[in-house]
């Protein structure tokens, strides 16, 4: 009779649950009999909870008001460092700062040797593309401003400088990440002094792959796009193979890189960010809270059974996201903020759109889709810009 329940699950929550429970019951079958009703179940339950609430931290801060932009790095540093207990082994962040001059792109590169001679790359680019980049070094990372397109730069660096890692490419995005405590990573890159409109970050407790710079988050998923992930995916090997056949390149064994590659692949095939995230609900198996950074905003998505924590806070001045409320406790005006937990399997996003362009750009602009604003996340507006915030049940 209850067999029917499992063969025809009505919705995804029940579907995922039945798989989880199936695992427990199969263990029972293997000889562990249920003498006390709670014994084996509670052991499983407790390990399930410990595993799923305490590992990795993610934070995001999106400023609605430009007067706060010089403060972004300082506010965001504190949020990130607060998540050290959830992710002590490495940290990283993506900051969306002032756009590159017209016709240019910001390329952020990393080399494990802090004394690496970046001018060699500048010289090689000049020779190859007649594009003399300006180079600015920040610890192990360097920021190049180039005129050449993203794909040519990637191919060129892969061929001639394979030891150099490309952190991000875009008009506004700058990704920096390293191993070490979140505090040391913040210090290394002087994050407190970086200005911008929004930032997302991650503190890592590695479970699925090694503690390395390239295994740290965020993962860049395309021009001005990046992803941070709290959780673990169980079908990443199979999915990686599938995406490799589609021509997506991977540089690590990391599960989050597969999710990033998956979203990039969906969007390259014409999906909007919202559609890509919703498709992920079907194709990505595992636990996740994702935060995606876009050129003008950010999006949050939790898996259908909401294993991984997330808290959102919104005021007239900002929207902030974190794994735990602790990270939000020092933000200005938090006492008056609206604070809530994002619903499972619901895409939330916020973006800055120039006033008057909202309607016409809804269909094609990354980060703003054609779904109706929900009552949970009402629209807010200010003098110069309009903001849209949307929640929709997938």
């Amino acid at each position: 009779m209850f067999a029917d329940r499992y063969t025809a699950p009505k919705q995804s929550t029940v579907n995922v649950l039945s798989r989880f429970k199936g695992l427990i019951l199969l263990q029972l079958e293997a000889g562990l009999r249920c003498a006390e009703p709670d014994s084996i179940f509670c052991l499983r339950y407790e390990s399930f909870m410990i595993r799923n609430i305490s590992m990795c931290g993610i934070v995001g801060l999106f400023l609605k008001q430009s007067f706060l932009e010089p403060e972004l790095g300082a506010l965001f540093s504190e949020m990130l460092i607060c998540m050290s207990s959830r992710g002590p082994d490495s940290a990283g962040f993506a900051v969306y700062g002032a756009p590159a001059p017209s016709g240019k792109l910001k390329v952020i590169l990393q080399h494990s040797d802090p004394d690496f001679d970046w001018s060699a790359i500048g010289f090689a680019l000049e020779k190859r593309f007649r594009d003399k980049p300006s180079v600015e070094v920040n610890s192990t990372h360097a920021r190049l401003l180039v005129k050449t397109d993203a794909q040519s730069i990637r191919s060129f660096l892969d061929e001639y400088f394979p030891e150099v890692r490309i952190m991000s490419v875009g008009r506004r995005i700058e990704i920096m990440k390293e191993t070490g405590s979140p505090e040391s990573v913040v210090e290394r890159f002087s994050l407190q002094r970086i200005a911008g409109s929004h930032a997302i970050g991650h503190t890592r407790m590695a479970t699925e792959s090694a503690v390395t710079t390239e295994g740290s988050h965020p993962f860049s998923t395309g021009v001005d796009l990046c992803l941070v992930h709290n959780g673990s995916l169980s079908n990443h090997n199979r999915l990686r193979q599938r995406l490799c056949r589609e021509g997506i390149e991977f540089h690590t064994e990391n599960d989050t890189e597969v999710a990033a590659g998956y979203f990039a692949w969906q969007m390259a095939n014409g999906a909007t960010l919202k559609e890509a995230l919703e498709a992920g609900l079907k194709d990505l198996d595992g636990f996740y809270t994702f935060t995606v950074g876009t050129e003008d905003g950010f999006a949050v998505l939790r898996d259908p059974i909401a294993c991984k924590p997330a808290v959102l806070a919104e005021t007239d001045d900002y929207v902030a996201m974190a794994s735990e409320y602790r990270s939000l406790a020092n933000l200005p005006g938090i006492e008056g903020a609206r604070i809530w937990e994002p619903e499972p399997a619901v895409v939330y996003n916020w973006s800055r759109v120039e006033r008057g362009e909202v309607a016409s750009k809804n269909g094609d602009r990354i980060g703003v889709s054609d779904f109706a604003p929900s009552s949970e996340t009402p629209e807010a507006s200010s003098d110069k810009r309009a903001f849209r915030s949307n929640g929709v049940t997938a």
């Binding site: 929550t13 649950l17 019951l25 199969l26 735990e324 937990e341 499972p344």
Partner: protein
């Protein structure tokens, strides 16, 4: 005479606070404590064993008032995962919302949530009484063994999945029932118990407005015939 101790968590660590609370003797007169600036830190007022009253002035983090015995803990704010986890007795009263696993595995006492509770409220509960004045999220009362869960608003997906003998009362809608959870007849003894519980929680809802859910008792023992369908 009531003697109030005030502890500011901006100046004192949670560990030091909890140590002081653990050292209290039942006959001591430091019966009322105010905790300032909790700022979402974890494990505030965990493992209390004497009948003191602790008021937390702000949002609390994970496992607030976990393992509570005898004490009354009042939170003037929201609480994160696992409030009153494994509570044995006493009262925990949350004036805001509660995150997931509120009252998880708790054996006794009363947990009142004035706002909403999110997923897995009362998971594996073993005798606690929980009154949620708002709504509760998915998988509430998962594998709940005994005790009462009262939801004055709506319940999310898979309410009471794999439930044992806990009693569930819901005033609003139920998005879906979990496996082996069914609606049951509301008999006079249930109305009476519910009335008492609502009164203790300071809730003016009428018992007749609720519907009762519980176990169909078909999942108690593993059946090899069903192995392929799990």
């Amino acid at each position: 005479m009531m003697f109030t101790q005030t502890v500011d968590l901006a100046k004192t660590s949670v560990r030091a606070l909890n140590q002081r609370l653990h050292e209290l003797k039942a006959e001591r007169d430091e019966e009322h404590w105010r905790i300032l600036n909790p700022r979402g830190v974890h494990a505030i007022a965990c493992g209390l064993r004497v009948p003191v009253t602790v008021e937390i002035e702000g949002h609390a983090g994970y496992y607030c008032a976990g393992m509570n015995q005898e004490a009354t803990v009042i939170v003037h704010g929201n609480v994160a995962t696992g409030v009153a986890e494994n509570m044995m007795s006493g009262i925990v009263h949350v004036n805001g919302n509660a995150s997931q696993c509120a009252g998880a595995t708790a054996h006794g006492g009363l947990l009142v949530v004035e706002g909403d509770a999110s997923a897995r409220c009362g998971i594996s509960m073993k005798g606690i009484d929980i009154v949620v004045k708002g709504s509760a999220g998915h998988m509430s009362a998962f594998m709940a063994q005994t005790g009462n869960l009262v939801i004055c608003g709506d319940a999310g997906d898979a309410l009471g999945d794999s439930i044992y003998e806990a009693r569930l009362f819901v005033r609003g809608g139920v998005r879906s029932l979990g496996t082996d959870c069914i609606e049951k007849e509301m008999r006079p003894e249930h109305l009476k118990a519910l009335e008492t519980l609502l009164k203790r929680a300071g809730c003016d809802a009428r018992p007749e407005e609720f519907r009762r859910y519980g176990s169909a008792r078909r999942l108690y023992h593993f059946q090899i015939d069903n192995a392929s369908s799990y």
